[in-house]
Structures are given as C-alpha cells and as structure tokens.
C-alpha cells in the first residue's frame, strides 16, 4: 500500500465499508433487478443461481442495502445540506462537464451535484424500499390491494431505473475525476485533488 503522509483523509474505514456494502448490494440488486425487469437481461439470473434464486435473493439484498443505506444516510446527511454556493455550482455544472472548471465556485466536502445525488438516492431508496415491500409476494403482497401493488411495481421499476442511471453517473464521475476512487478504497485523497475539486473542504482540513 502506497501512502503519502501528506494525503488527506476523506473517509474512515467504517465509512468506506459502509459505502461498499451498499455498493455491492446495489450491484447485486441492479443485476438481479434488471434480470427480472427486461426479458433481454433475464440470463443475468444465472449469476444468482437461476430465476427462482434471483426472485428470492433480490428483496433480501434490498433489505440489507436499505439498512446500510440508512446508516450511511445519517452519517452523511449533515454534510449534504444544499447551500447557495451549491446551487451556483449546479447552475454551472455544464461548464464543468465540458471540461472547464475555472468558474466553478469553491466546494466543501461535497459539491452541489453530489449533494443532489445524495438526496435523490435517499428518496429513491425510500420509494424502492416501500414499493419493494408492497410487491414482495412471499410475505407482504397479500396485505395490499391490487391497485397499490401495481403502482408499487411501476414505481419500483421506474425508480430503480433512475437510480441505476444516477449510480452510473456517480460511478462515472468517480472514474472521470481522477484520484477520486481511492478515497473510497484507501480513504485518502491527494491534497492536490482536494484543492482542485473541493477547495473549501481542503482549506477546512488543512486549517487555512
């Protein structure tokens, strides 16, 4: 493990573990969910031991993800309050995507996009969990009227799709912004990275 003592600590071990539990759950859920969502992706059920196992496992994984997500949510909630600057950042996000971050306002630990993503994921998880319970045939569906189940199925599919898109963006953003992924792998980022992308946080951390 290569460590530069001057690197900045972005996530502690517990946070990273938490993230990855959620992340792994998400991947399992996305793969199994997509398998059940689109016929073309049904063969993905093979990854889980076939269709029946996919159907059995998916909701349980969902529950695990929800539990860990809730922990994570409360861990990071206070860091994700939108501020005026964040909205300013969001307005200028297009410039950033185009590769020009010179005019972006200084960001704290999270930028406006990340924060929006955070809140969106929170909402999506809530919807997915609630609708997931409703359409969980083995234990819960019998308690809901058919109209609710149908709406549940639709919402579950729609929010799952949105969430997958959001996570793709999330992952891509991590890949695109070089030096990001290690934050979630070893917990640290380079000072340069911090200064470049989260200058306010950088200042805060190094005390300037």
């Amino acid at each position: 493990m290569i460590r530069d003592p001057s690197d900045l600590k972005r996530y502690n071990a517990s946070e990273r573990a938490n993230h990855w539990v959620v992340g792994i759950c998400f991947i399992l859920l996305a793969l199994s969910g997509l398998a059940l969502f689109h016929p073309a992706l049904f063969p993905l059920t093979g990854l889980f031991g076939g269709g029946v196992w996919t159907r059995i496992l998916h909701p349980f994984v969902g529950v695990v993800m929800m539990l860990f997500f809730v922990v994570m949510f409360f861990r990071f909630k206070h860091l994700n309050q939108m501020t005026q600057t964040d909205w300013e950042w969001v307005k200028r996000a297009k410039e950033m995507v185009d590769g020009d971050d010179h005019n972006m306002p200084e960001m704290g630990k999270y930028n406006g996009g990340q924060k929006l993503l955070f809140w969106f994921l929170g909402a999506a998880m809530l919807v997915l969990f609630a609708s997931g319970i409703v359409i969980w045939r083995a234990y819960f569906s019998a308690y809901f009227p058919i109209g609710v189940i149908r709406t549940g199925a639709l919402l579950h599919a729609a929010f799952a799709a949105l969430m997958i898109i959001a996570i793709i963006v999330h992952v891509y953003a991590a890949i695109w912004v070089r030096g990001t992924i290690r934050a979630m792998l070893y917990g640290t980022v380079t000072r340069a990275w911090a200064k470049q992308h989260h200058r306010a946080w950088y200042r805060q951390v190094i005390g300037k």
Binding site: A35, T45, I135, R137, A138, G147, R150, K195
Partner: protein
C-alpha cells in the same frame, strides 16, 4: 424449435416471435350463467383432472367453498343474491377462473421467459418449471386469477386443460357440467351459440342479456352469457370493463425501453464523454501549488 402439441402465439419475457407460420383454430369456453346451478361439479372435475386437492376448509356462512381460488382450486363458484323491483330475487351464480385473455395481463407482466405461454388456440398456460414465483402475473391480471402456492411458490391457475385440448378433448369442467352451462368449441362457434342463448334469454324477458367477451383485454377465450350483460359486476364483482391496468401497461410497456435507453445513454454518455473530453485530472497548477504549500509546511 421442435414441434410441440400446441403452437405458441406468445411467450412471456421473450422479445422475439415464436414460429407463427401455422394457423390453428382459436378455441373458447362459453359459460352460460343462465344455466348454471352452482353445483361445483366443475370444481371437482378440475381437481380430479389436475390432481389437486385443496384443504378441507370451513363454512363461512355462504354456499361458496373453497371461498376463493387457491393454487389447488383453479375455479370456484361465486354466489350473489340480487333483488330487484323488476325480477324479484335472483341467485346469480358465476364460475370464476382464468378468462384466457387474448391480451393476457399475466403474460405481459411475467419476467420469466416461457413461464407463461399463450398458445395459438388462445389458451394461456402457466409453466411452473419456468415460474420463478415473483407474483407479477397476479399484479398483471385484470381478473385476479393467478395464485401463488405456499408450498412451492409457483403460480397456478386454470390451464383450460391444455393437456386435454392438445389431444383433442374438451376441458374437464366442460365435460362434467351437468346442466350444459359450460360449452367448448371454436371461438367462432361459441360466439354463435352465445347469440342463440342471448336471443332465447331476451325472449324470456332478460332485455339486457348479452355476451361477455371484453374488448379491453382483446376478448377472452372464456366468455360468459350473462342475463344482465349491462351490469357484469352483479355477478360477484365480474369487472365491468376489464383492461390491463394502465400502471401495468406503463410498467411493462413504456418503462422498459425508456429505462433501458436511459441506462444505455448514461453508460455510453460516460464512455463518450471520457473519450471526447478526457479525464478530469488535477491541474498542473494546483499540483504545483500544493507542492509549494507542502514545502512551506516543512
């Protein structure tokens, strides 16, 4: 694809067409409620033929038993005592079960390839070996028909005795029906028979007698002759105008390509963005600044 006893029209969770060259006659079961005495012979014939035995339940204060369809009871009689000024008391008895829709909501909803098959003759059949037990068929069905077994978590419902029809026999309930309330034949013949019955009922004063072959699901391969076709819901809640619920249509229709497109766009967008714009790396300036700052600290 090898030959099977019945040609396939539609297959659940399958994006391509099954072989469509052969044309078979569409069949239908016609249930004439004006001849039904609610004897439940059809229920017994169904359990005998299909090797099903439900639990011995209890009396809930009506004639209906089992009180609802289950994985072991694919058809049940429903009894309604209806009083009207015009006709006094009527005991409207309806055999409930799968309607074998032309546009089956269950098949539309099913995520497992080949778990639900619509044969070219109109029969909608569940293939439990492919069923994953998700219950989406229940969600998709406009008639509340499929039932998930508590034992094996598979979905079950009336097969229209596809095994009998495949060898040229009528379904077991049709054969057994002692009053001739249930008929079976080509859909065309059944519609003609229904017309005959409707005329007869109208002569007997049932002005609104008619055929129940709801267009909302593309017609059905189990149809009713109702003496009050203007009010199907009188018959223990037969849907007046059943369709696949808009939520289900959206879920299994528009949402699918849209979501896939969305996901694809996101993924490809990322790829092309990366290719075209390159990575977002820490600028040399900042790196230099930070170097300096570190030096300073030291």
């Amino acid at each position: 694809m090898a030959l099977q006893s019945l040609d396939i029209a539609k297959r659940s969770a399958t994006t391509t067409e099954p072989p469509q060259a052969r044309k078979t006659i569409e069949v239908a079961k016609l249930i004439d409620v004006s001849k039904c005495i609610g004897c439940k012979a059809c229920q017994v014939a169904c359990m005998q033929w299909n090797d099903l035995r439900d639990e011995v339940g209890s009396c809930g204060g009506t004639y209906a038993n089992p009180t609802d369809m289950t994985d072991q009871s694919w058809t049940v009689m429903r009894y309604a005592e209806v009083e009207s000024e015009e006709r006094g008391l009527e005991w409207l008895i309806r055999k409930d079960g799968c309607m074998h829709c032309e546009d089956p909501g269950c098949l539309k909803a099913c995520p497992s390839p080949g778990a639900i098959i619509k044969y070219a003759n109109g029969i909608v059949d569940f293939h439990q070996e492919n069923c994953i037990g998700c219950g989406y068929c229940v969600t998709g069905c406009p008639f509340n028909v499929p039932r998930i077994s508590k034992k094996d978590s598979k979905a079950y419902k009336c097969t229209l005795c596809s095994d009998r029809v495949a060898v040229g026999l009528e379904p077991a309930c049709v054969k057994v029906c002692p009053t001739g309330s249930i008929s079976f034949g080509s859909k065309e013949d059944m519609k003609e028979l229904a017309e005959e019955r409707v005329t007869e009922l109208q002569e007997r004063g049932f002005k609104n007698a008619g055929l129940y072959d709801p267009v909302g699901v593309g017609g059905t391969h189990v149809m009713y002759v109702l003496n009050h076709a203007d009010k199907p819901s009188l018959y223990s809640g037969l849907p007046n105008d059943p369709t696949i619920a808009p939520t289900v249509s959206l879920w299994k229709g528009f949402t699918k390509p849209l979501a896939m497109a969305g996901i694809a766009v996101a993924a490809l967008g990322g790829l092309f963005h990366y290719v075209m714009k390159g990575p977002n790396e820490v600028s040399k300036e900042v790196e230099a600044e930070v170097e300096k700052e570190l030096e300073a600290e030291k």
